[in-house]
């Protein structure tokens, strides 16, 4: 083992250890601490200088009060359920909107595909915040959408869309659409057209060939796309705060408010730990399906 190798491995390793793993352990620890009126507002700190006594003292002060508090206050429980609900529904909606687009791209003339691909990627590089903001001007009471509907004579009074859950759904579908389109497009593009021709030769109609051949073969893309939308949406913070109303409960927003307005860091940390527990399940499932995918391709 030479120094160069040690250096090469060591630097990124120590960086990640210090700025990813250690902070995470601190969150875990603070989630088990009592709130105190000092700054930083939490009490027990691990005093390694005291050796074993310090460590014992540290563990004896830990408790699950913050988690019990989360259980007792219906706000948190509701926020978890509604985050999951919003994530599931919006993922389904993104799939329904994204699939036809990916399908159209995969079936487009060859010379068009690179351009279409670029058109999907471009919004992805554009600021997320700006893309969410663009809907505020459209959905507001005096916004573009209401003005257009009134001008066309469909409605007399402006609809309330901004600051409701509907606006949150629109915002999620809009901002996460590229994440859904790209994996489905990748799966559909690889699909061998002759399979469809064979199905049609064997008496399938166009529609049944789609349901029996195209859709099952694009399943890996659908699965990947759904995970890529679902996982980040659960912890989403920007969309519910800008487009949602005061009754839009999402756990990412609750965590941020707990931390910034209430300055209750132990509870914020407990919320973070529970949020992670919810996200871990889909992440592991996604990892598994990706590995199976990779193995199937070998």
């Amino acid at each position: 083992m030479n120094y160069r190798r040690l250096f090469l491995i060591g630097i990124p390793y120590v960086w990640l250890l210090a700025l990813f793993l250690v902070p995470f352990i601190i969150v875990l620890k603070i989630s088990l601490s009592d709130i105190a009126l000092s700054i930083p507002p939490y009490t027990p700190t691990l005093d390694l200088a005291e050796g074993w006594a310090g460590i014992k003292d540290f563990f004896s002060k830990l408790d699950f009060d913050n988690f019990l508090f989360l259980k007792s206050d219906p706000l948190y429980w509701k926020a978890y359920v509604s985050s999951l609900q919003i994530a599931i529904l919006s993922t389904t909606m993104t799939l329904l909107v994204g699939y036809p687009i990916a399908y159209g791209m995969a079936r487009a003339p060859e010379e068009w595909r690179a351009t279409l691909m670029m058109l999907v990627i471009l919004p992805f590089w554009t600021s997320f915040l700006i893309r969410v903001y663009s809907w505020m001007g459209i959905l507001g009471k005096e916004g573009f959408f209401n003005s257009a509907l009134i001008w066309l004579g469909f409605i007399d009074e402006p609809l309330t869309i901004l600051n409701t859950n509907t606006a949150v759904y629109i915002g999620i579908v809009y901002t996460y659409l590229p994440f859904m389109i790209l994996p489905i497009y990748a799966a559909l593009e690889k699909l061998d057209i002759s399979l469809l021709e064979a199905a049609e030769d064997l008496g399938c109609t166009r529609t049944s060939a789609f349901w029996l051949v195209t859709l099952p073969l694009s399943r890996p893309g659908i699965v990947a796309g759904c995970f890529l939308v679902f996982i980040p949406v659960i912890g989403e913070f920007v969309i519910p705060s800008l487009l949602g109303g005061s009754n839009t409960l999402m756990i990412g927003k609750v965590l941020f408010e707990e931390f910034s307005s209430n300055r209750d860091w132990p509870v914020a940390s407990a919320v973070a730990v529970l949020l992670l527990l919810i996200v871990v399940v889909p992440i592991v499932l996604f990892q598994r399906s990706q590995e199976r995918q990779a193995e199937a391709q070998k």
Binding site: P12, L16, A108, L129, S134, I138
Partner: protein, 271 residues
């Protein structure tokens, strides 16, 4: 498939209208003369003028740019090292832990990463400011760099490196003259990705920034919380224009280099 079918043309038109119309409306209304965002009051560039006279926005843009340049450069170095170690480093103790730590920040909700970094900075007594934002962004974006670079490292032929070593190169020379030129496009796109992510980040920055180091996304967020403002439309338009220019240029360069590589390969096969 030479032509668009009726169904595909419709779904593509509707889909891309949905993707682009909101941004188009935003851009059009940034040139609106009136304060009201929904009523057209004639063409004007006055909001751009107001934007450039607003010192708070210019300061925030400067902070964001500095953070972006520093963190994406650091992240590219660290991420490339990490990718090289994971793909080429062979077995070493803690390899699994390292690849886990490289993967986790990508999928972890940003609110958690932000909160945990803030609590660390407070625990070690580091004042919140430019440095803490750079540290946070570097950690977050180096994982993306390492994904991009390792996907390139996996696909290229390791025997090229071995040949260089056999011919008497030191490992560093082999890396510099063989590996680096081959992975350079991936390193550059990794840097660009890191830079964009840093410029765009709101959540991490809101946790770890101090009062003296407001970044542009924080500034935009606090401004638009109060409602739509034509000044933000003007700022958004500028940002969209920069991104569009960058993406279109990059894809043109990429297209040229792909054609060139195909031609080179054909020539090599023919000779």
């Amino acid at each position: 498939m030479r032509r668009f079918s009726w169904f595909n043309a419709t779904s593509l038109t509707l889909g891309f209208t949905f993707l682009y119309l909101p941004m188009l409306i935003l851009i059009v209304y940034s040139f609106n003369g009136g304060r009201n965002v929904a009523i057209w009051a004639g063409f004007s560039t006055k909001w751009y003028g107001e934007l450039f006279r607003d010192k708070a926005f210019l300061d925030a843009a400067w902070v964001t740019l500095r953070v972006g340049l520093m963190s994406s450069t650091l992240a590219t170095i660290l991420g490339t090292m990490a990718a090289y170690v994971i793909v080429r480093g062979g077995r070493f103790k803690g390899r699994t832990v390292m690849s886990g730590m490289l993967y986790a920040p990508i999928v972890m909700p940003e609110v958690i990463t932000g909160l945990s970094l803030l609590l660390l900075f407070i625990a070690i007594g580091l004042d919140r400011g430019l440095v803490t934002i750079v540290l946070a962004h570097t950690t977050f974006t180096m994982c993306f760099v390492s994904v991009v670079v390792s996907s390139r490292l996996v696909t290229f032929d390791q025997s090229l490196e071995e040949a260089a070593l056999d011919l008497g190169c030191t490992p560093w020379d082999a890396f510099k003259s063989v590996t680096l030129p081959i992975i350079a496009p991936a390193v550059i796109s990794g840097w660009l990705l890191a830079f964009t992510l840093s410029l765009d980040d709101l959540v991490l920055a809101s946790f770890v920034s101090g009062p003296s180091s407001t970044t542009l996304p924080i500034k935009i967020f606090s401004a638009v919380r109060l409602g739509v403002s034509p000044k933000i439309n003007a700022l958004s338009t500028i940002m969209i224009a920069i991104v569009a220019f960058g993406v279109i240029t990059a894809s043109l360069i990429n297209k040229r280099s792909v054609t060139k590589r195909l031609r080179d390969e054909q020539e090599a096969a023919a000779s």
